[in-house]
Protein backbone atom coordinates (compact mmCIF):
# COMPACT_ATOMS: atom_id res chain seq x y z
CA UNK A 1 0.00 0.00 0.00
CA UNK A 2 1.26 3.46 -0.88
CA UNK A 3 1.55 6.14 1.76
CA UNK A 4 -1.66 8.10 2.07
CA UNK A 5 -1.56 11.80 1.24
CA UNK A 6 -2.64 12.94 4.68
CA UNK A 7 -2.71 10.90 7.84
CA UNK A 8 -3.42 12.01 11.39
CA UNK A 9 -2.06 9.96 14.26
CA UNK A 10 -3.54 10.50 17.71
CA UNK A 11 -4.29 14.11 16.86
CA UNK A 12 -5.46 16.13 19.85
CA UNK A 13 -6.48 19.74 20.26
CA UNK A 14 -7.52 20.93 23.69
CA UNK A 15 -8.61 24.49 24.40
CA UNK A 16 -7.96 25.91 27.84
CA UNK A 17 -11.06 27.34 29.44
CA UNK A 18 -11.66 28.64 32.99
CA UNK A 19 -13.61 25.44 33.71
CA UNK A 20 -10.93 23.07 32.46
CA UNK A 21 -9.70 21.61 29.19
CA UNK A 22 -12.15 21.56 26.32
CA UNK A 23 -11.48 18.43 24.32
CA UNK A 24 -12.31 19.72 20.83
CA UNK A 25 -10.40 17.02 18.98
CA UNK A 26 -9.49 13.98 21.00
CA UNK A 27 -7.25 11.27 19.60
CA UNK A 28 -8.36 11.27 15.98
CA UNK A 29 -6.76 8.88 13.49
CA UNK A 30 -7.81 9.44 9.90
CA UNK A 31 -6.34 9.05 6.45
CA UNK A 32 -7.06 10.86 3.21
CA UNK A 33 -6.05 8.99 0.07
CA UNK A 34 -4.89 10.71 -3.10
CA UNK A 35 -7.72 11.90 -5.33
CA UNK A 36 -10.35 10.85 -2.81
CA UNK A 37 -12.76 12.74 -0.62
CA UNK A 38 -13.05 12.12 3.08
CA UNK A 39 -16.31 13.46 4.49
CA UNK A 40 -16.35 14.48 8.14
CA UNK A 41 -19.82 14.74 9.65
CA UNK A 42 -21.16 15.58 13.07
CA UNK A 43 -23.30 18.06 14.93
CA UNK A 44 -22.23 21.59 15.73
CA UNK A 45 -19.58 21.64 18.43
CA UNK A 46 -18.27 18.15 17.75
CA UNK A 47 -14.87 19.43 16.64
CA UNK A 48 -15.10 19.04 12.86
CA UNK A 49 -13.80 22.51 12.04
CA UNK A 50 -11.11 22.33 14.71
CA UNK A 51 -9.95 19.07 13.17
CA UNK A 52 -9.71 20.65 9.72
CA UNK A 53 -7.81 23.63 11.01
CA UNK A 54 -5.47 21.54 13.16
CA UNK A 55 -4.46 19.49 10.14
CA UNK A 56 -3.47 22.68 8.35
CA UNK A 57 -1.78 24.00 11.49
CA UNK A 58 -4.03 27.04 11.47
CA UNK A 59 -4.54 25.90 15.03
CA UNK A 60 -1.51 24.33 16.66
CA UNK A 61 -2.49 20.79 17.78
CA UNK A 62 -1.92 19.88 21.43
CA UNK A 63 -0.35 16.55 20.57
CA UNK A 64 -0.26 13.87 17.91
CA UNK A 65 1.05 13.82 14.36
CA UNK A 66 -0.11 15.04 10.98
CA UNK A 67 1.68 13.09 8.27
CA UNK A 68 1.87 14.51 4.78
CA UNK A 69 3.17 11.80 2.46
CA UNK A 70 4.60 10.15 5.55
CA UNK A 71 6.35 13.25 6.93
CA UNK A 72 5.22 14.86 10.17
CA UNK A 73 4.44 18.48 9.31
CA UNK A 74 4.02 19.43 12.96
CA UNK A 75 7.82 19.27 13.27
CA UNK A 76 8.33 21.74 10.41
CA UNK A 77 9.71 25.16 11.27
CA UNK A 78 8.04 28.35 10.13
CA UNK A 79 9.88 28.62 6.84
CA UNK A 80 9.33 25.03 5.84
CA UNK A 81 5.67 25.25 6.84
CA UNK A 82 5.23 28.35 4.67
CA UNK A 83 6.58 26.38 1.73
CA UNK A 84 4.37 23.44 2.71
CA UNK A 85 1.16 25.51 2.65
CA UNK A 86 1.28 25.60 -1.13
CA UNK A 87 0.17 21.99 -1.03
CA UNK A 88 -2.71 22.41 1.38
CA UNK A 89 -5.46 24.97 1.17
CA UNK A 90 -8.82 25.60 2.79
CA UNK A 91 -12.25 26.80 1.65
CA UNK A 92 -14.06 28.47 4.52
CA UNK A 93 -17.64 28.12 5.57
CA UNK A 94 -18.88 31.65 5.38
CA UNK A 95 -18.36 33.39 2.03
CA UNK A 96 -19.47 36.62 3.69
CA UNK A 97 -16.77 36.66 6.35
CA UNK A 98 -13.82 34.94 4.70
CA UNK A 99 -13.14 37.52 1.99
CA UNK A 100 -11.44 40.82 2.73
CA UNK A 101 -14.05 43.48 1.97
CA UNK A 102 -11.41 46.01 0.96
CA UNK A 103 -9.80 43.88 -1.73
CA UNK A 104 -11.13 43.38 -5.24
CA UNK A 105 -11.89 39.94 -6.61
CA UNK A 106 -8.65 39.82 -8.58
CA UNK A 107 -6.58 40.91 -5.56
CA UNK A 108 -8.18 38.21 -3.41
CA UNK A 109 -7.50 35.47 -5.93
CA UNK A 110 -3.96 36.71 -6.63
CA UNK A 111 -2.98 37.02 -2.99
CA UNK A 112 -1.87 33.43 -2.35
CA UNK A 113 0.40 33.61 -5.41
CA UNK A 114 1.78 36.95 -4.27
CA UNK A 115 2.41 35.70 -0.75
CA UNK A 116 4.09 32.49 -1.90
CA UNK A 117 5.83 34.22 -4.82
CA UNK A 118 4.89 31.45 -7.24
CA UNK A 119 4.18 33.99 -9.98
CA UNK A 120 5.96 37.33 -9.88
CA UNK A 121 5.33 38.70 -13.35
CA UNK A 122 2.35 41.08 -13.31
CA UNK A 123 1.03 40.07 -16.71
CA UNK A 124 1.35 36.38 -15.96
CA UNK A 125 -0.45 36.89 -12.65
CA UNK A 126 -3.37 38.60 -14.37
CA UNK A 127 -3.61 35.76 -16.86
CA UNK A 128 -3.60 33.21 -14.07
CA UNK A 129 -6.36 35.08 -12.21
CA UNK A 130 -8.46 35.14 -15.37
CA UNK A 131 -7.85 31.46 -15.90
CA UNK A 132 -8.89 30.67 -12.32
CA UNK A 133 -12.02 32.76 -12.64
CA UNK A 134 -12.90 30.81 -15.76
CA UNK A 135 -12.29 27.52 -14.00
CA UNK A 136 -14.74 28.33 -11.21
CA UNK A 137 -17.27 29.95 -13.54
CA UNK A 138 -16.91 33.61 -12.59
CA UNK A 139 -17.40 36.02 -15.47
CA UNK A 140 -14.39 38.22 -16.21
CA UNK A 141 -16.39 41.38 -15.71
CA UNK A 142 -16.18 40.78 -11.95
CA UNK A 143 -12.40 41.22 -11.88
CA UNK A 144 -12.52 44.64 -10.30
CA UNK A 145 -15.61 44.29 -8.16
CA UNK A 146 -15.60 44.01 -4.38
CA UNK A 147 -17.06 41.02 -2.53
CA UNK A 148 -20.05 42.98 -1.18
CA UNK A 149 -21.28 43.50 -4.74
CA UNK A 150 -21.64 39.77 -5.32
CA UNK A 151 -24.13 37.21 -4.05
CA UNK A 152 -23.28 34.24 -1.85
CA UNK A 153 -22.78 31.73 -4.67
CA UNK A 154 -20.35 33.95 -6.54
CA UNK A 155 -18.49 34.80 -3.34
CA UNK A 156 -18.04 31.14 -2.56
CA UNK A 157 -16.63 30.70 -6.07
CA UNK A 158 -14.00 33.32 -5.20
CA UNK A 159 -13.16 31.26 -2.12
CA UNK A 160 -12.78 28.17 -4.31
CA UNK A 161 -10.63 30.05 -6.85
CA UNK A 162 -8.39 31.33 -4.08
CA UNK A 163 -7.91 27.82 -2.72
CA UNK A 164 -7.00 26.56 -6.20
CA UNK A 165 -4.55 29.38 -6.93
CA UNK A 166 -1.50 27.50 -5.68
CA UNK A 167 -2.52 24.23 -7.29
CA UNK A 168 -2.61 22.36 -3.99
CA UNK A 169 -2.92 18.63 -3.59
CA UNK A 170 -5.15 18.72 -0.57
CA UNK A 171 -8.06 21.06 0.21
CA UNK A 172 -9.98 21.24 3.46
CA UNK A 173 -13.55 22.27 2.67
CA UNK A 174 -15.12 23.57 5.85
CA UNK A 175 -18.88 23.56 5.21
CA UNK A 176 -18.41 25.28 1.86
CA UNK A 177 -22.06 25.10 0.87
CA UNK A 178 -24.02 25.36 4.09
CA UNK A 179 -24.51 29.13 3.78
CA UNK A 180 -25.96 28.80 0.28
CA UNK A 181 -29.40 28.11 -1.20
CA UNK A 182 -30.00 24.62 -2.57
CA UNK A 183 -29.83 25.56 -6.24
CA UNK A 184 -26.57 27.46 -5.71
CA UNK A 185 -25.30 24.68 -3.44
CA UNK A 186 -25.77 22.21 -6.28
CA UNK A 187 -23.79 24.44 -8.65
CA UNK A 188 -20.84 24.63 -6.24
CA UNK A 189 -20.91 20.88 -5.47
CA UNK A 190 -20.84 20.06 -9.19
CA UNK A 191 -17.96 22.50 -9.66
CA UNK A 192 -15.94 20.91 -6.87
CA UNK A 193 -16.49 17.42 -8.22
CA UNK A 194 -15.54 18.46 -11.76
CA UNK A 195 -12.34 20.07 -10.47
CA UNK A 196 -11.46 16.91 -8.60
CA UNK A 197 -11.90 14.79 -11.73
CA UNK A 198 -9.74 17.19 -13.70
CA UNK A 199 -6.92 17.94 -11.27
CA UNK A 200 -7.02 14.97 -8.91
CA UNK A 201 -7.41 16.96 -5.70
CA UNK A 202 -7.96 15.28 -2.38
CA UNK A 203 -10.69 16.84 -0.28
CA UNK A 204 -11.51 16.72 3.36
CA UNK A 205 -15.14 17.74 3.27
CA UNK A 206 -16.50 18.96 6.59
CA UNK A 207 -20.26 19.28 6.86
CA UNK A 208 -23.30 18.58 8.99
CA UNK A 209 -25.44 17.85 5.95
CA UNK A 210 -25.48 14.11 5.39
CA UNK A 211 -27.09 14.23 1.98
CA UNK A 212 -24.31 16.50 0.73
CA UNK A 213 -21.59 14.33 2.24
CA UNK A 214 -23.13 11.21 0.71
CA UNK A 215 -23.08 12.85 -2.67
CA UNK A 216 -19.47 14.00 -2.66
CA UNK A 217 -17.45 11.66 -0.45
CA UNK A 218 -15.77 8.34 -1.03
CA UNK A 219 -15.22 7.72 2.66
CA UNK A 220 -16.96 9.16 5.71
CA UNK A 221 -15.87 9.72 9.29
CA UNK A 222 -18.57 10.41 11.89
CA UNK A 223 -17.48 12.57 14.81
CA UNK A 224 -19.08 12.94 18.20
CA UNK A 225 -17.67 15.26 20.86
CA UNK A 226 -14.15 15.36 19.50
CA UNK A 227 -13.87 11.67 18.80
CA UNK A 228 -14.24 9.71 15.66
CA UNK A 229 -16.91 7.08 16.33
CA UNK A 230 -17.24 5.44 12.93
CA UNK A 231 -15.26 5.39 9.68
CA UNK A 232 -16.39 3.55 6.55
CA UNK A 233 -16.81 3.93 2.82
CA UNK A 234 -19.84 6.03 1.90
CA UNK A 235 -21.79 3.08 0.55
CA UNK A 236 -21.07 0.90 3.56
CA UNK A 237 -21.88 3.64 6.08
CA UNK A 238 -25.26 4.46 4.57
CA UNK A 239 -26.31 0.86 3.98
CA UNK A 240 -24.95 -0.55 7.21
CA UNK A 241 -24.47 2.08 9.91
CA UNK A 242 -23.19 0.40 13.06
CA UNK A 243 -22.67 2.98 15.77
CA UNK A 244 -25.91 3.94 17.54
CA UNK A 245 -25.08 7.61 17.00
CA UNK A 246 -24.63 7.15 13.26
CA UNK A 247 -27.90 5.26 13.11
CA UNK A 248 -29.70 8.06 14.93
CA UNK A 249 -28.08 10.67 12.73
CA UNK A 250 -29.15 8.92 9.54
CA UNK A 251 -32.62 8.40 10.89
CA UNK A 252 -33.01 12.08 11.72
CA UNK A 253 -32.53 13.34 8.17
CA UNK A 254 -35.79 14.56 6.70
CA UNK A 255 -36.09 12.90 3.29
CA UNK A 256 -37.91 14.77 0.53
CA UNK A 257 -40.18 11.92 -0.46
CA UNK A 258 -43.57 10.82 0.78
CA UNK A 259 -42.55 7.22 1.25
CA UNK A 260 -41.01 8.03 4.60
CA UNK A 261 -43.77 10.30 5.82
CA UNK A 262 -45.39 7.90 8.20
CA UNK A 263 -42.30 6.02 9.21
CA UNK A 264 -41.76 6.06 12.93
CA UNK A 265 -38.42 7.62 13.64
CA UNK A 266 -36.20 6.82 16.53
CA UNK A 267 -35.51 10.28 17.84
CA UNK A 268 -32.57 10.43 20.20
CA UNK A 269 -33.35 12.17 23.41
CA UNK A 270 -31.24 14.83 25.01
CA UNK A 271 -28.51 17.01 23.63
CA UNK A 272 -24.76 16.97 23.25
CA UNK A 273 -23.02 16.98 26.62
CA UNK A 274 -20.21 19.34 27.54
CA UNK A 275 -16.82 18.69 25.92
CA UNK A 276 -15.04 20.21 28.94
CA UNK A 277 -13.20 17.54 30.94
CA UNK A 278 -15.34 14.68 29.59
CA UNK A 279 -15.61 11.52 31.67
CA UNK A 280 -13.75 8.46 30.45
CA UNK A 281 -15.77 6.00 28.41
CA UNK A 282 -18.21 6.44 25.58
CA UNK A 283 -19.28 10.06 25.23
CA UNK A 284 -22.54 9.16 23.56
CA UNK A 285 -23.61 6.82 26.40
CA UNK A 286 -25.89 9.38 28.10
CA UNK A 287 -28.09 9.58 24.97
CA UNK A 288 -27.69 6.01 23.79
CA UNK A 289 -30.55 3.54 24.05
CA UNK A 290 -28.14 0.60 24.18
CA UNK A 291 -26.07 2.06 27.02
CA UNK A 292 -24.76 -0.54 29.48
CA UNK A 293 -22.51 -0.43 32.49
CA UNK A 294 -19.46 -1.40 30.38
CA UNK A 295 -19.83 1.82 28.37
CA UNK A 296 -17.72 3.64 30.95
CA UNK A 297 -14.65 1.52 30.22
CA UNK A 298 -11.97 3.87 28.95
CA UNK A 299 -11.01 1.95 25.80
CA UNK A 300 -12.59 3.80 22.93
CA UNK A 301 -10.37 2.96 20.00
CA UNK A 302 -11.83 2.24 16.58
CA UNK A 303 -12.15 -1.46 15.82
CA UNK A 304 -12.37 -2.91 12.36
CA UNK A 305 -15.69 -4.72 12.36
CA UNK A 306 -16.07 -5.37 8.65
CA UNK A 307 -13.45 -4.84 5.97
CA UNK A 308 -12.53 -1.14 6.10
CA UNK A 309 -15.43 -0.38 8.40
CA UNK A 310 -14.24 0.93 11.76
CA UNK A 311 -16.45 1.62 14.71
CA UNK A 312 -15.90 2.45 18.37
CA UNK A 313 -18.73 0.94 20.37
CA UNK A 314 -18.89 -1.91 22.88
CA UNK A 315 -21.72 -3.51 20.90
CA UNK A 316 -19.13 -4.58 18.33
CA UNK A 317 -16.11 -6.51 19.46
Amino acid sequence: MSTPLIQTVGLKKYFKTPKGDLHAVDDVNLTVERGKTLGVVGESGCGKSTLGRSILRLLEPTSGQVLYKGEDILKYDKLKMHEMRKNMQIIFQDPYASLNPRMTVSEIIAEPMRVCKTITDKKELDDKVNELMNTVGLANRFVNTYPHELDGGRRQRIGVARALALEPEFIVCDEPVSALDVSIQAQILNLMMDLQDEHGFSYMFITHDLSVVKHISTEIAVMYLGQCVEVASTKELFSNPLHPYTQALLDAIPIPSLKYRNKKRTVIKGEVTSPINPKPGCRFASRCKYAKSECVSPDRSLKEVNANHFVSCILYK
Binding site: Q187, H215, P254, I268
Partner: protein, 330 residues
Protein backbone atom coordinates in the same frame (compact mmCIF):
# COMPACT_ATOMS: atom_id res chain seq x y z
CA UNK B 1 -63.34 21.84 1.96
CA UNK B 2 -63.03 22.91 5.54
CA UNK B 3 -63.47 26.29 7.13
CA UNK B 4 -61.19 28.92 5.65
CA UNK B 5 -58.96 30.58 8.18
CA UNK B 6 -56.75 32.72 5.98
CA UNK B 7 -57.37 34.22 2.58
CA UNK B 8 -54.76 36.28 0.78
CA UNK B 9 -55.66 37.79 -2.57
CA UNK B 10 -53.35 39.50 -5.02
CA UNK B 11 -50.99 40.76 -2.33
CA UNK B 12 -48.25 43.17 -3.38
CA UNK B 13 -45.54 44.32 -0.99
CA UNK B 14 -42.89 46.89 -1.75
CA UNK B 15 -39.85 47.96 0.24
CA UNK B 16 -38.67 51.50 -0.26
CA UNK B 17 -34.95 52.08 -0.03
CA UNK B 18 -32.86 55.12 -0.84
CA UNK B 19 -31.68 53.61 -4.07
CA UNK B 20 -34.70 51.83 -5.49
CA UNK B 21 -38.01 50.18 -4.77
CA UNK B 22 -37.83 46.48 -4.08
CA UNK B 23 -40.84 44.44 -5.14
CA UNK B 24 -40.76 41.62 -2.61
CA UNK B 25 -44.23 40.15 -3.06
CA UNK B 26 -45.98 40.43 -6.42
CA UNK B 27 -49.52 39.15 -6.57
CA UNK B 28 -49.67 36.42 -3.96
CA UNK B 29 -52.85 34.33 -3.68
CA UNK B 30 -53.14 31.90 -0.81
CA UNK B 31 -55.90 30.12 1.10
CA UNK B 32 -55.57 28.10 4.26
CA UNK B 33 -58.15 25.82 5.87
CA UNK B 34 -58.54 25.09 9.54
CA UNK B 35 -56.13 22.48 10.88
CA UNK B 36 -54.07 22.48 7.73
CA UNK B 37 -50.28 22.75 7.51
CA UNK B 38 -48.96 24.57 4.48
CA UNK B 39 -45.30 24.49 3.54
CA UNK B 40 -44.07 27.69 1.93
CA UNK B 41 -40.90 26.82 0.04
CA UNK B 42 -38.46 28.98 -1.88
CA UNK B 43 -34.94 30.32 -2.06
CA UNK B 44 -33.56 33.22 -0.08
CA UNK B 45 -35.21 36.41 -1.30
CA UNK B 46 -38.29 34.72 -2.75
CA UNK B 47 -40.51 36.75 -0.42
CA UNK B 48 -41.52 34.00 2.01
CA UNK B 49 -40.81 35.92 5.18
CA UNK B 50 -42.25 39.16 3.77
CA UNK B 51 -45.51 37.33 3.04
CA UNK B 52 -45.67 36.08 6.63
CA UNK B 53 -44.86 39.51 8.06
CA UNK B 54 -47.65 41.04 5.96
CA UNK B 55 -50.19 38.71 7.57
CA UNK B 56 -49.17 40.12 10.96
CA UNK B 57 -48.63 43.64 9.62
CA UNK B 58 -45.13 43.58 11.02
CA UNK B 59 -43.43 45.02 7.95
CA UNK B 60 -40.80 47.59 8.95
CA UNK B 61 -42.44 50.99 9.35
CA UNK B 62 -41.89 53.55 6.59
CA UNK B 63 -39.93 51.00 4.57
CA UNK B 64 -42.27 48.10 3.86
CA UNK B 65 -45.71 48.79 2.34
CA UNK B 66 -48.61 46.63 1.27
CA UNK B 67 -49.45 48.36 -2.00
CA UNK B 68 -52.30 46.19 -3.22
CA UNK B 69 -54.42 43.20 -2.34
CA UNK B 70 -56.35 41.87 0.61
CA UNK B 71 -55.53 39.69 3.61
CA UNK B 72 -58.43 38.18 5.51
CA UNK B 73 -58.05 36.31 8.72
CA UNK B 74 -61.38 34.59 9.32
CA UNK B 75 -63.75 37.58 9.06
CA UNK B 76 -61.17 40.20 9.91
CA UNK B 77 -59.75 42.43 7.21
CA UNK B 78 -56.10 42.78 8.17
CA UNK B 79 -55.25 45.51 5.67
CA UNK B 80 -57.70 47.98 7.22
CA UNK B 81 -57.20 46.93 10.83
CA UNK B 82 -55.82 49.57 13.21
CA UNK B 83 -52.65 49.14 15.22
CA UNK B 84 -54.76 48.58 18.34
CA UNK B 85 -56.70 45.81 16.61
CA UNK B 86 -53.49 44.21 15.43
CA UNK B 87 -52.09 44.12 18.95
CA UNK B 88 -55.12 42.07 19.99
CA UNK B 89 -54.77 39.75 17.01
CA UNK B 90 -51.05 39.07 17.30
CA UNK B 91 -50.26 36.38 19.80
CA UNK B 92 -53.93 35.56 20.34
CA UNK B 93 -55.23 34.56 16.92
CA UNK B 94 -51.98 34.42 14.98
CA UNK B 95 -48.52 33.98 16.35
CA UNK B 96 -45.16 33.70 14.73
CA UNK B 97 -42.09 31.62 15.47
CA UNK B 98 -38.99 33.37 14.23
CA UNK B 99 -36.04 31.79 12.55
CA UNK B 100 -33.27 32.37 15.01
CA UNK B 101 -33.90 31.02 18.52
CA UNK B 102 -30.73 32.70 19.77
CA UNK B 103 -31.94 36.25 19.15
CA UNK B 104 -35.72 36.15 19.45
CA UNK B 105 -35.91 35.76 23.23
CA UNK B 106 -35.37 38.65 25.62
CA UNK B 107 -32.08 37.85 27.37
CA UNK B 108 -32.93 39.68 30.62
CA UNK B 109 -36.32 38.12 31.31
CA UNK B 110 -36.82 34.66 32.80
CA UNK B 111 -38.47 32.32 30.30
CA UNK B 112 -41.49 31.86 32.58
CA UNK B 113 -42.09 35.61 32.49
CA UNK B 114 -41.80 35.69 28.72
CA UNK B 115 -44.46 33.00 28.33
CA UNK B 116 -46.69 34.67 30.91
CA UNK B 117 -46.44 37.99 29.07
CA UNK B 118 -48.60 36.74 26.18
CA UNK B 119 -51.25 35.52 28.60
CA UNK B 120 -51.24 38.74 30.63
CA UNK B 121 -51.94 40.74 27.49
CA UNK B 122 -54.57 38.55 25.90
CA UNK B 123 -56.27 36.74 28.75
CA UNK B 124 -57.18 39.61 31.04
CA UNK B 125 -59.65 37.50 33.00
CA UNK B 126 -57.02 35.00 34.10
CA UNK B 127 -55.76 35.34 37.66
CA UNK B 128 -52.09 35.27 38.52
CA UNK B 129 -52.52 31.77 39.81
CA UNK B 130 -54.18 30.59 36.59
CA UNK B 131 -51.45 32.14 34.48
CA UNK B 132 -48.79 30.35 36.52
CA UNK B 133 -50.61 27.07 36.01
CA UNK B 134 -50.97 27.67 32.29
CA UNK B 135 -47.22 28.43 32.01
CA UNK B 136 -46.42 25.14 33.73
CA UNK B 137 -48.84 23.32 31.47
CA UNK B 138 -47.46 24.78 28.25
CA UNK B 139 -43.85 24.12 29.31
CA UNK B 140 -44.80 20.54 29.95
CA UNK B 141 -46.37 20.41 26.49
CA UNK B 142 -43.13 21.38 24.77
CA UNK B 143 -41.09 19.04 26.92
CA UNK B 144 -39.36 21.41 29.33
CA UNK B 145 -39.51 20.75 33.06
CA UNK B 146 -41.46 23.45 34.92
CA UNK B 147 -38.61 23.76 37.42
CA UNK B 148 -36.71 25.62 34.74
CA UNK B 149 -39.18 28.45 34.24
CA UNK B 150 -37.09 30.78 36.39
CA UNK B 151 -34.03 30.30 34.20
CA UNK B 152 -32.81 32.85 31.69
CA UNK B 153 -32.50 32.17 27.93
CA UNK B 154 -28.69 31.87 28.03
CA UNK B 155 -29.03 28.87 30.33
CA UNK B 156 -30.76 26.91 27.57
CA UNK B 157 -29.35 25.23 24.49
CA UNK B 158 -30.53 26.10 20.96
CA UNK B 159 -33.10 23.32 20.76
CA UNK B 160 -34.51 24.20 24.19
CA UNK B 161 -34.74 27.90 23.28
CA UNK B 162 -36.69 27.00 20.16
CA UNK B 163 -39.07 24.99 22.37
CA UNK B 164 -39.54 28.04 24.60
CA UNK B 165 -40.37 30.15 21.55
CA UNK B 166 -42.86 27.55 20.37
CA UNK B 167 -44.35 27.57 23.89
CA UNK B 168 -44.80 31.36 23.66
CA UNK B 169 -46.38 30.99 20.24
CA UNK B 170 -48.85 28.39 21.45
CA UNK B 171 -49.66 29.91 24.87
CA UNK B 172 -52.99 31.41 23.73
CA UNK B 173 -53.81 28.51 21.42
CA UNK B 174 -53.83 30.63 18.26
CA UNK B 175 -55.84 29.62 15.19
CA UNK B 176 -52.84 30.16 12.97
CA UNK B 177 -49.15 29.67 13.61
CA UNK B 178 -46.56 31.15 11.27
CA UNK B 179 -43.31 29.27 11.65
CA UNK B 180 -40.42 30.96 9.84
CA UNK B 181 -37.67 28.36 9.36
CA UNK B 182 -38.18 27.04 12.90
CA UNK B 183 -35.52 24.34 12.65
CA UNK B 184 -32.95 25.79 10.25
CA UNK B 185 -30.59 26.87 13.02
CA UNK B 186 -30.71 23.47 14.72
CA UNK B 187 -28.75 20.26 14.28
CA UNK B 188 -30.49 17.33 12.58
CA UNK B 189 -31.04 15.29 15.71
CA UNK B 190 -32.48 18.31 17.54
CA UNK B 191 -34.48 19.23 14.43
CA UNK B 192 -36.05 15.78 14.49
CA UNK B 193 -37.05 16.30 18.14
CA UNK B 194 -38.60 19.72 17.47
CA UNK B 195 -40.44 18.58 14.34
CA UNK B 196 -41.89 15.59 16.13
CA UNK B 197 -43.07 17.85 18.92
CA UNK B 198 -44.65 20.37 16.53
CA UNK B 199 -46.48 17.57 14.75
CA UNK B 200 -47.90 16.27 18.04
CA UNK B 201 -48.96 19.73 19.19
CA UNK B 202 -50.65 20.46 15.88
CA UNK B 203 -52.68 17.27 16.12
CA UNK B 204 -53.59 18.01 19.71
CA UNK B 205 -54.62 21.65 19.32
CA UNK B 206 -55.84 21.55 15.69
CA UNK B 207 -53.86 24.69 14.88
CA UNK B 208 -53.35 25.72 11.27
CA UNK B 209 -49.76 26.35 10.38
CA UNK B 210 -47.72 27.96 7.65
CA UNK B 211 -44.26 26.47 7.72
CA UNK B 212 -41.71 28.58 5.90
CA UNK B 213 -38.66 26.60 4.90
CA UNK B 214 -36.26 25.83 2.12
CA UNK B 215 -35.88 22.22 3.20
CA UNK B 216 -38.09 19.95 1.11
CA UNK B 217 -37.34 17.07 3.46
CA UNK B 218 -38.99 18.87 6.36
CA UNK B 219 -41.97 19.67 4.14
CA UNK B 220 -42.40 16.04 3.12
CA UNK B 221 -42.51 15.08 6.76
CA UNK B 222 -45.14 17.39 8.21
CA UNK B 223 -47.06 19.40 5.60
CA UNK B 224 -50.48 18.76 4.04
CA UNK B 225 -50.10 21.27 1.23
CA UNK B 226 -47.08 22.89 -0.38
CA UNK B 227 -46.66 26.26 -2.07
CA UNK B 228 -43.52 27.03 -4.05
CA UNK B 229 -42.57 30.69 -4.17
CA UNK B 230 -40.40 32.41 -6.72
CA UNK B 231 -39.74 36.15 -7.05
CA UNK B 232 -42.68 37.11 -4.87
CA UNK B 233 -45.29 34.85 -6.45
CA UNK B 234 -46.59 31.39 -5.79
CA UNK B 235 -45.69 29.53 -8.96
CA UNK B 236 -47.00 26.14 -7.89
CA UNK B 237 -49.28 24.99 -5.12
CA UNK B 238 -50.91 21.70 -4.38
CA UNK B 239 -51.47 18.88 -1.95
CA UNK B 240 -48.33 17.17 -0.80
CA UNK B 241 -48.98 14.29 -3.21
CA UNK B 242 -49.37 16.70 -6.14
CA UNK B 243 -46.00 18.27 -5.48
CA UNK B 244 -43.97 15.22 -4.50
CA UNK B 245 -45.57 12.56 -6.67
CA UNK B 246 -47.55 14.50 -9.28
CA UNK B 247 -46.74 14.26 -12.95
CA UNK B 248 -46.71 17.93 -13.95
CA UNK B 249 -44.53 20.58 -12.41
CA UNK B 250 -43.35 24.11 -12.91
CA UNK B 251 -39.79 24.06 -14.36
CA UNK B 252 -38.54 25.82 -11.22
CA UNK B 253 -39.95 23.09 -8.98
CA UNK B 254 -38.21 20.48 -11.11
CA UNK B 255 -34.96 22.42 -10.74
CA UNK B 256 -35.43 22.70 -6.98
CA UNK B 257 -35.85 18.94 -6.62
CA UNK B 258 -32.92 18.32 -8.98
CA UNK B 259 -30.66 20.41 -6.76
CA UNK B 260 -31.01 18.21 -3.68
CA UNK B 261 -28.59 15.32 -3.39
CA UNK B 262 -30.76 12.22 -3.30
CA UNK B 263 -30.23 10.02 -0.25
CA UNK B 264 -31.68 6.88 -1.75
CA UNK B 265 -30.31 6.77 -5.24
CA UNK B 266 -26.83 6.88 -6.61
CA UNK B 267 -26.52 9.94 -8.78
CA UNK B 268 -23.28 11.23 -10.10
CA UNK B 269 -24.24 14.81 -10.83
CA UNK B 270 -26.80 17.19 -9.47
CA UNK B 271 -29.01 19.04 -11.91
CA UNK B 272 -29.06 22.57 -10.58
CA UNK B 273 -30.93 25.53 -12.01
CA UNK B 274 -28.58 27.78 -13.91
CA UNK B 275 -28.35 31.46 -12.99
CA UNK B 276 -29.85 33.50 -10.19
CA UNK B 277 -33.21 34.88 -9.14
CA UNK B 278 -34.05 38.18 -10.89
CA UNK B 279 -33.20 41.42 -9.12
CA UNK B 280 -36.36 42.30 -7.14
CA UNK B 281 -35.88 46.00 -7.84
CA UNK B 282 -36.13 45.47 -11.60
CA UNK B 283 -38.53 42.67 -12.27
CA UNK B 284 -38.52 41.46 -15.87
CA UNK B 285 -41.52 41.70 -18.18
CA UNK B 286 -43.29 38.40 -18.61
CA UNK B 287 -42.55 35.31 -16.56
CA UNK B 288 -40.04 36.01 -13.77
CA UNK B 289 -38.40 32.62 -14.28
CA UNK B 290 -37.86 33.01 -18.05
CA UNK B 291 -34.12 33.61 -17.92
CA UNK B 292 -33.36 30.40 -16.07
CA UNK B 293 -35.97 28.24 -17.74
CA UNK B 294 -34.99 25.54 -20.23
CA UNK B 295 -38.42 25.44 -21.83
CA UNK B 296 -38.77 29.21 -22.27
CA UNK B 297 -41.04 30.15 -25.17
CA UNK B 298 -41.78 33.42 -27.00
CA UNK B 299 -44.91 34.03 -24.97
CA UNK B 300 -42.95 33.74 -21.69
CA UNK B 301 -40.92 36.81 -22.58
CA UNK B 302 -44.00 38.96 -23.06
CA UNK B 303 -46.73 37.80 -20.72
CA UNK B 304 -46.91 36.76 -17.11
CA UNK B 305 -48.56 33.33 -17.09
CA UNK B 306 -52.04 32.73 -15.71
CA UNK B 307 -52.78 30.26 -12.94
CA UNK B 308 -53.75 26.90 -14.39
CA UNK B 309 -55.64 24.50 -12.15
CA UNK B 310 -56.12 20.79 -12.13
CA UNK B 311 -58.26 19.90 -9.12
CA UNK B 312 -56.11 20.82 -6.13
CA UNK B 313 -52.95 21.49 -8.11
CA UNK B 314 -52.09 24.93 -9.51
CA UNK B 315 -49.14 25.73 -11.76
CA UNK B 316 -48.35 29.21 -12.99
CA UNK B 317 -46.54 28.56 -16.26
CA UNK B 318 -47.27 29.02 -19.94
CA UNK B 319 -46.61 25.33 -20.48
CA UNK B 320 -49.84 24.65 -18.65
CA UNK B 321 -51.85 27.62 -19.87
CA UNK B 322 -55.51 27.32 -20.69
CA UNK B 323 -54.70 27.42 -24.39
CA UNK B 324 -52.49 24.39 -24.10
CA UNK B 325 -54.57 22.77 -21.43
CA UNK B 326 -56.05 20.08 -23.63
CA UNK B 327 -52.69 18.58 -24.51
CA UNK B 328 -50.75 19.03 -21.31
CA UNK B 329 -53.01 18.72 -18.34
CA UNK B 330 -55.68 16.27 -19.43
Amino acid sequence: MGEKILEIENLHVKYKTDESDIYAVNGLNLCLNKGETLGLVGETGAGKTTAALSILKLLPKKIGFITEGSVKLGDIDIINATDADMRLIRGDMVSMIFQDPMTSLNPILRIGEQIAEVLQIHKKDMSKQQIEERVDEILNLVGISKDRKNDYPHQFSGGMKQRVIIAIGLACEPDLLLADEPTTALDVTIQAQVLEMMQELKDKLNTSMILITHDLGVVAQICDRVAIMYAGQIIEIGNIEDIFEGEHHHPYTIGLFGSIPNMNEESKRLKPIAGMMPDPSELPVGCSFKERCASCMEICKAENPEEAYLDTHMIKCHLFDRKNESKTMS
